[in-house]
């Protein structure tokens, strides 16, 4: 039975975190997760957000346990996109090019154990486990708009920490002008990597000031729980004023460079995807209308909403691009 409860309420708001975790742990240990989910034994509000998911999505709940997180001021008043839409409509070509494929093909993906290596223009190369990353900085919930270059958008309650904290730990040297993010490209776990559709591994990058901007986060969770595999577990980049493809998923390597990195999509379509990829309704794309967008979950008759400059984050990020020709630097 599928529980037909739709809610935007974060689970941790309803059930005390300890109770919530204990129950999950018990179910996982007892191996009843699938059974309980499938038979609807758990009709408690703690599963309200994922209540309308098919049972198999519950069975693939991430293995990573998140520490407590605090709320933040971001995204107040925004209507959240449902957990189901966020976790079943994904661009994640490593798991397939159709939007519904990542949720299906990432079920057996293992986000733990996980290590991230730090390289390039740093004091010294080093590695860090995902567990240690979680201890670097307190986690907070950031409700951000996400605008995809394809003309659709969502509002996602990420859990994460400012990338600046990780960079501080990484100790880049004075030559570090850019940061490069390299995603996992595992042919065993990621069926899409076997197809030469993109030049694997997926590479993204930011200018140092963009990376240090307080809005830029490393997300490790959403809707109060560890990041689902199809959303980039265990850790992904979130840069809310840029098009969604800037948000590299399943990051295994962070490299500091003195030159602007060549990103995967720049290589795939230099006329279509630039390094900056700032959301900009004034800069046309050869394929999609960028002045308006479809909000996911709004329904068949909702039409489009206007796209905002820098996705509505001009106040926080506009000054970084002062004097730059954003048509050239798209």
């Amino acid at each position: 039975m599928i529980i037909q409860t739709k809610s935007d309420i974060v689970p941790s708001e309803i059930t005390p975190k300890e109770v919530f975790d204990d129950r999950r742990k018990f179910l996982q240990q007892a191996g009843f997760g699938l059974l309980a989910g499938a038979t609807g034994l758990l009709s408690s509000p703690s599963f309200a957000t994922s209540g309308n998911l098919p049972a198999q999505h519950k069975a693939s709940k991430p293995l990573l346990k998140l520490p407590n997180f605090s709320k933040s001021k971001y995204g107040a008043g925004e209507k959240l996109t449902s957990f189901e839409d966020i976790t079943t409509y994904n661009n994640y070509y490593e798991f397939g090019t159709d939007k519904d494929e990542p949720a299906i093909h990432s079920k057996l993906f293992k986000p733990v154990p996980w290590t991230v290596s730090i390289e390039g223009q740093v004091k010294k190369n080093k590695t860090i486990s995902i567990e240690d990353i979680l201890k670097l900085a307190p986690l907070e919930e950031r409700i951000y708009r996400m605008r995809c270059v394809e003309g659709w958008s969502m509002v996602i309650p990420w859990i994460g920490f400012p990338l600046a904290q990780l960079i501080k730990w990484a100790e880049p040297n004075a030559n570090a002008k850019y940061v490069e993010f390299i995603s996992l490209a595992d042919t065993q776990q990621m069926p899409g990597v076997n197809l030469p559709i993109l030049d694997w591994p997926y590479i993204e990058g930011l200018r140092m000031d963009e990376a240090m901007n307080p809005l830029t986060i490393m997300a490790v969770g959403l809707y109060g729980e560890a990041l689902p595999n199809q959303n980039g577990a265990p850790m992904r980049l979130v840069v809310p004023w840029k098009y969604g493809f800037k948000g590299a998923k399943a990051i295994v390597k962070i490299r500091f460079t003195d030159k602007m990195p060549m990103t995967t999509w720049m290589k795939a379509g230099p006329a279509e995807y630039g390094f900056y990829a700032n959301v900009n309704p004034q800069v046309e794309h050869p394929r999609w209308t960028q002045s308006s967008e479809k909000r996911i979950g709004a329904g068949l008759f909702a039409g489009r909403i206007k796209t905002q400059m820098f996705n509505g984050y001009t106040e926080q990020v506009g000054q970084m691009y002062a004097g730059m020709d954003l048509r050239k630097n798209f």
Partner: protein, 218 residues
């Protein structure tokens, strides 16, 4: 059936096991069956809409689905002549008009979805979209070219236009190429599906070209 086809292709005989010409009654029944089959994609959309199951991006889903079925119907329409050329059977040509009009039907739904659901008849945005984005321009051109074909798809028009009717309706090849290009250019990176349609179209056209050349030589 022109005799040269039988002479040129002994295959016509080897494939004759597929069947003799069905009775008029059976042909009429097939027609009803094909008509109902062609409505399934539309009924499916209503079913999915009713059950709130049109994916997270329902507008795009309907847009893609109607576009896909328009192209599918077009390729079906174009496959009837190659069947005649390869097997010598021609009774299937009686379904060509219906399939062609179903292509027009799904193309109309595709266009309405785009104009109404996607752009809410915001003409300024629509015109900008058509001018700025090559794949939209190609799609719009293809649709405009289907209009004269749909209007003249009746016996009265065939009688009226005679030879010119045939010339006019060879536009279907242009429409098919534009339709496939429309699909190719809209896809971001994974071109496998549009390439499949391009290959099918190329094969259907190749059969025609092959027989035309052999006819000329004969």
């Amino acid at each position: 059936m022109p005799a040269w086809i039988y002479e040129k292709t002994f295959r016509a005989q080897s494939l004759s096991f597929i069947g003799k010409v069905p009775s008029k009654k059976l042909i009429a029944r097939f027609k009803v069956a094909i008509f109902l089959l062609c409505l399934i994609p539309l009924l499916r959309l209503f079913w999915l809409a009713f059950h709130d199951d049109l994916s997270a991006n329902p507008i795009e889903f309907v847009e893609r689905s109607t576009g896909y079925w328009a192209l599918f119907m077009l390729l079906c329409t174009l496959s009837l002549s190659p069947i005649r050329l390869l097997t010598g059977r021609s009774w299937q040509l009686q379904y060509r008009r219906m399939l062609g009009l179903f292509m027009f039907f799904y193309a109309c739904l595709h266009l309405i979805t785009y104009l109404w659901l996607d752009y809410a008849f915001n003409w300024a945005d629509i015109i900008k979209d058509i001018i700025k984005h090559p794949y939209v321009l190609v799609g719009a051109s293809a649709f405009i070219l289907t209009l004269p074909l749909a209007i003249t798809s009746n016996n009265a028009m065939i009688r009226l236009l005679r030879e010119r009717w045939k010339q006019l309706h060879s536009l279907v090849y242009v429409i098919a190429v534009l339709g496939v290009v429309h699909f190719l250019w809209l896809v971001k990176k994974d071109l496998r599906e549009p390439i499949l349609y391009a290959v099918i179209l190329a094969l259907l056209l190749a059969v025609r070209i092959y027989y035309r050349i052999s006819k000329r030589k004969a």
